[in-house]
């Protein structure tokens, strides 16, 4: 980060308001595939985003030149866009907040050390050896991504925030093949384990011993029948619930979608502004929070990228829709309350309304009670396929592994479990919510949205949940 205190007085920009958001991120990717270490890949990404309000207009400019002259040029370029677009702007920037936040944030256990390069590869070689334990395992890999990110937001109103993050993303995946059948299995999905912190994340998920377990489950799937078809109950485990929450609650509640910004790309929403406060989104058991305060969760932070202080907030309480995922600017545009969710994926993209940590609050049922509640159904775990319409209503999701449940008891494993439904109805069929023992804190580093497009990190914590009367089906055969 440049020594801003000495630079700021030199920015004599003719503007109503300006901000500079710096991102300094380093990452390393370690991977062993089929018992061969993949080439070490390292990245350093540094730059700044200048945002300026002038005469009712708004503009931005992104630069990797963070010298005084580079920053000044970016501010001037952003100001030029603000002036050029002032008469065409959808929102008069004179009505927007001009924050002056001050504070800091740091990931948990930021000061603890991580393994060195050799240490990571040794760990991954062990996992790979375990995962490649059978000739029917035709492909397998173990990987860890480590990301350090420092972000600083400075505003012309005196705001100055520094936030430091460390994220660790371990993964194991295998492909099994025999007799014309192929099945894939992973540890909680493709990088579903992604948290802030250090090596405690690996311990939390039993990472070191997971290679053989994942491989054995893939081999079991090879020999398993297809998932049955029909209308039945489903018990969704947390590594599928996170996807269900993400796609059919998170995206439809994004206020910029509701305002129409995303209609040319990511889509609109079946949720409309008048629904907030009265609409029954789900059963009485559905409680959804925007929670940036859970330390280990991937998208925890102290402030969003516009400088709004982040707080835990209910979006849906006892099934009733309370507020959208709308940032300070969207709140002004829509006249609705919101949360601190203005986020950009890097220095070279402007912030937009995003999910951060979006969680389903635990209920009272233990795992035995969840299973016992189902006479005819399927337990499904680990998302493998996801598709939903542009209003975020008609969805179809697939999982890696299922288990038949009959008369309240877990039965045999089934492959290719899929289900489909409609968001507006689906959450009303939520019948039981697992307790804290069934909850897992997971997420995804890969949520795509926006024009220009951005891939952002999101966290989701969820217990296991039971839904009644769902359209379930299996694979092609």
């Amino acid at each position: 980060m440049p020594p801003l205190d000495s630079l700021l007085p030199s920015f004599d920009i003719k503007a109503d308001f300006w901000s500079l958001r710096f991102v300094d991120e380093t990452s390393e990717a370690f991977c062993v595939r089929r018992n061969v270490a993949q080439p070490l890949a390292r990245a350093t990404d540094r730059g700044a985003m200048a945002s300026v309000y002038v005469d009712g207009g708004y503009g931005y400019a992104a630069t990797a030149d963070t010298s005084p002259s580079g920053l000044r040029a970016a501010l001037e370029r952003a100001a030029a866009w603000a002036r050029a677009s002032a008469t065409l702007a959808i929102t008069d920037s004179r009505t927007l907040p001009r924050p002056a936040p001050r504070g800091s944030y740091a990931s948990p256990s930021l000061a603890t050390t991580l393994p060195d390069t050799r240490g990571w590869f040794d760990l991954l070689h062990g996992l790979s050896k375990d995962a490649g334990c059978d000739p029917r395992i035709v492909d397998w890999e173990a990987s860890v991504d480590v990301v350090h990110s420092t972000q600083r937001l400075v505003t012309s109103t005196g705001g100055d925030i520094v936030q430091r993050f460390r994220m660790v993303i371990p993964s194991v995946g295998v492909t099994a093949h025999a007799d014309g059948i192929t099945q894939q299995r992973s540890l909680n999905g493709q990088r579903g384990i992604c948290q802030q912190g250090g090596t405690e994340i690996l311990e939390r998920f039993g990472y070191a011993g997971s290679g053989r377990r994942v491989a054995e489950e893939a081999l079991e799937l090879l020999a398993s029948p297809n998932c049955p078809s029909g209308t039945m109950d489903v018990l969704l485990m947390p590594d599928q619930m996170i996807l269900q929450i993400h796609e059919s609650i998170g995206h439809p509640l994004e206020l910029d979608r509701i305002l129409g910004d995303e209609r040319n790309f990511a889509g609109t929403s079946f949720v409309t502004p008048e629904m907030f406060g009265t609409y029954r989104y789900g059963s009485e058991l559905l409680n959804i929070t925007f929670d940036p305060t859970r330390p280990e969760e991937l998208a925890s932070y102290g402030f969003d990228d516009d400088g709004t202080r982040a707080e835990r907030t209910y979006l849906i309480r006892k099934g009733i829709l309370e507020r959208p995922l709308g940032s300070a600017i969207s709140q002004v545009r829509a006249g609705l309350p919101g949360v601190a969710n203005s986020r950009a994926d890097n220095w070279n993209r402007p912030p937009i309304d995003r999910m951060a940590n979006l969680n389903l609050e635990p209920g009272n049922s233990d795992m035995n009670e969840l299973v016992a509640s189902i006479d005819d159904g399927v337990l499904m775990e680990t998302n493998s396929s996801w598709s939903i319409d542009d209003s975020r209503n008609k969805f179809q999701f697939g999982c890696e592994r299922g288990r038949v449940i009959s008369n309240g008891k877990l039965g045999h494993v089934v492959k290719n479990p899929n289900y489909r439904g409609i968001s507006a109805n689906f959450w009303r069929s939520l019948a039981l919510v697992g307790n804290d023992d069934t909850l897992r804190v997971l997420g995804s580093p890969y949520c795509g949205k926006g024009e220009p497009s951005q891939v952002i990190r999101v966290g989701h914590a969820s217990p296991a949940c039971v839904f009644k009367g769902v359209d379930v089906f299996g694979g092609e055969g």
Binding site: P39, G59, G260, G267, D390, E451, G475
Partner: protein, 449 residues
């Protein structure tokens, strides 16, 4: 507003300086193979016929790959454009990689180009200032609910190695994507991309979109799940082809049974009129990939319904004893071309007779990857057609069907005309991929929700 000096040679000369810095940073016994990606783009996001977010992004990324014997590692770093600072950053990156090589293993799958194949391709665009383009667009759409994005400015790709190879690709283009909304999710999407801007062409395209908006405004028809005849426009086919590009043609995915086309290694076939190739010659992607390998003008992938080739990266070539063919690391085509058929585009609705005319598909994913089964949604201009005439827009429908039926047993015809569609993806940076596709008439397509 934007830096439109895309092809003035300044960036190319600057890249030449980087190559010199890299060469000078090497120690005895070391090699480097480094790729470069940069752009200076004005992005203007619009909604409700107004400007939502206008801005400028200037970015330069260098991926340094340091090689010593059979050991190698890479460091991708953002560069400031200031050579003094960047010289230091590159030096630090090389030093860090040198230290890391002591802790990594020999790579049995390392493959480097065995010939030095330098190349240069520069395509200049004649583009007005971005604010002028936006004013023209909003003026042409006046009175309509327009939402969309303009991306304009130069994009650069480069490669250099310690063996003296230099590859350069620069193009200055625009990509305009917009939708006109009638209400809720009912809209007409349009796109226009290229190297030359014409207000007259923009107005003609907008007039066509406004005409189609009148069709979208008709009362909506809701269809029950079931099997329907369907005509997929090239834009809808782009989504099907895009999904197949996700691991479908990958040499590694085929070798490890993860490709949705893996059954084509055995008896499975598509219709004999189906042909796919990687057609670099006909696209806009660079003629070199990130590790410095030249891309052949054309790589046949499917011919007469049979799997005849794959996208093979250098690493996969070594691992599975195949011949590399210029594929990128993900082994996804960047200029996929599908062979056209015999059905004239103007006769497509008559040939459909009664069924669905699908203008756009959306959010495709595999519902049973080994079986080549995919699901996705209809979107935007999708109409119910009776006796060759558009009757009504339809409520969005979910399809769930296999590629072996859609492009196999149920394929009735392909159009004689193909559309070259430039990729509008901007994740991390502007993409230089394209597809060239015909429309497809299907005797049956399965809809489930």
């Amino acid at each position: 507003m934007g830096d439109r000096s895309g092809s003035d040679g300044a960036m190319e000369a600057w890249f030449g300086n980087l190559a010199g810095i890299l060469d000078a940073a090497l120690a005895p016994g070391e090699r480097h193979a480094s790729s470069f990606s940069a752009e200076a783009t004005d992005f203007v996001r619009m909604n409700r016929g107004k400007v939502r977010q206008p801005g400028h992004v200037e970015q330069r990324y260098l991926r340094v790959r340091l090689i010593r014997g059979a050991r190698h590692a890479s460091h991708t770093l953002s560069l400031s454009g200031n050579l003094v600072d960047d010289r230091q950053a590159i030096g630090d990156a090389v030093k860090g990689l040198r230290e890391s090589l002591a802790h990594v293993e020999d790579d049995p799958y390392l493959l480097l180009p065995d010939v030095v194949a330098s190349s240069r391709a520069v395509r200049e665009g004649a583009l007005p200032a971005p604010e002028t383009m936006v004013e023209s667009l909003l003026d042409a759409a006046a009175g309509n609910d327009l939402v969309g994005i303009l991306a304009t400015g130069p994009v650069y790709r480069g490669f250099c190695s310690s063996e003296g190879q230099r590859n350069w690709h620069a193009s200055t283009a625009f990509n305009l994507q917009w939708s006109l909304y009638h209400r809720a999710d009912k809209a007409v999407k349009s796109s226009w991309a290229g190297f030359e801007w014409s207000d007259a062409e923009l107005r003609a395209r907008m007039a066509g979109a406004i005409d189609n908006l009148a069709l979208i405004a008709r009362p909506v028809k809701t269809l029950a799940p079931g099997t329907y005849r369907a005509f997929l426009t090239p834009t809808a086919m782009q989504e099907v082809a895009g999904l197949l590009c996700w691991g479908g043609f990958s040499g590694r995915a085929l070798a490890t049974e993860q490709s949705p086309l893996a059954r084509m290694k055995g008896d499975a076939r598509l219709d004999q009129r189906v042909g796919f190739s990687e057609d670099i010659e006909g696209g806009v992607a660079p003629a070199f990939q990130g590790e410095g390998f030249a891309r052949p003008p054309r790589v046949p992938l499917i011919d007469a319904g049979r799997l005849v080739g794959a996208m093979v990266s250098p690493r996969t070539a070594r691992e599975f004893k195949l011949d590399e063919n210029g594929a990128n690391g993900a082994e996804s085509p960047e200029a996929l071309a599908m062979q056209p058929g015999a059905l004239a585009q103007k006769d497509a609705l008559d040939a459909l007779d009664t069924g669905l005319a699908i203008g756009n598909l959306w959010y495709l994913n595999y519902s049973d990857r080994p079986a080549g089964r995919m699901t996705g949604m209809t979107r935007f201009a999708t109409f119910w057609v009776e006796h060759g005439k558009v009757v009504a827009p339809v409520e969005v429908m979910r399809f769930d069907d296999t590629v072996y039926r859609m492009l196999g047993s149920n394929l009735e015809a392909l159009t004689a005309e193909r559309e070259l569609i430039l990729d509008s993806d901007t994740y991390g940076g502007r993409n230089l991929a394209s597809v060239s596709l015909p429309g497809a008439l299907l005797s049956a397509m399965q809809f489930t929700l």
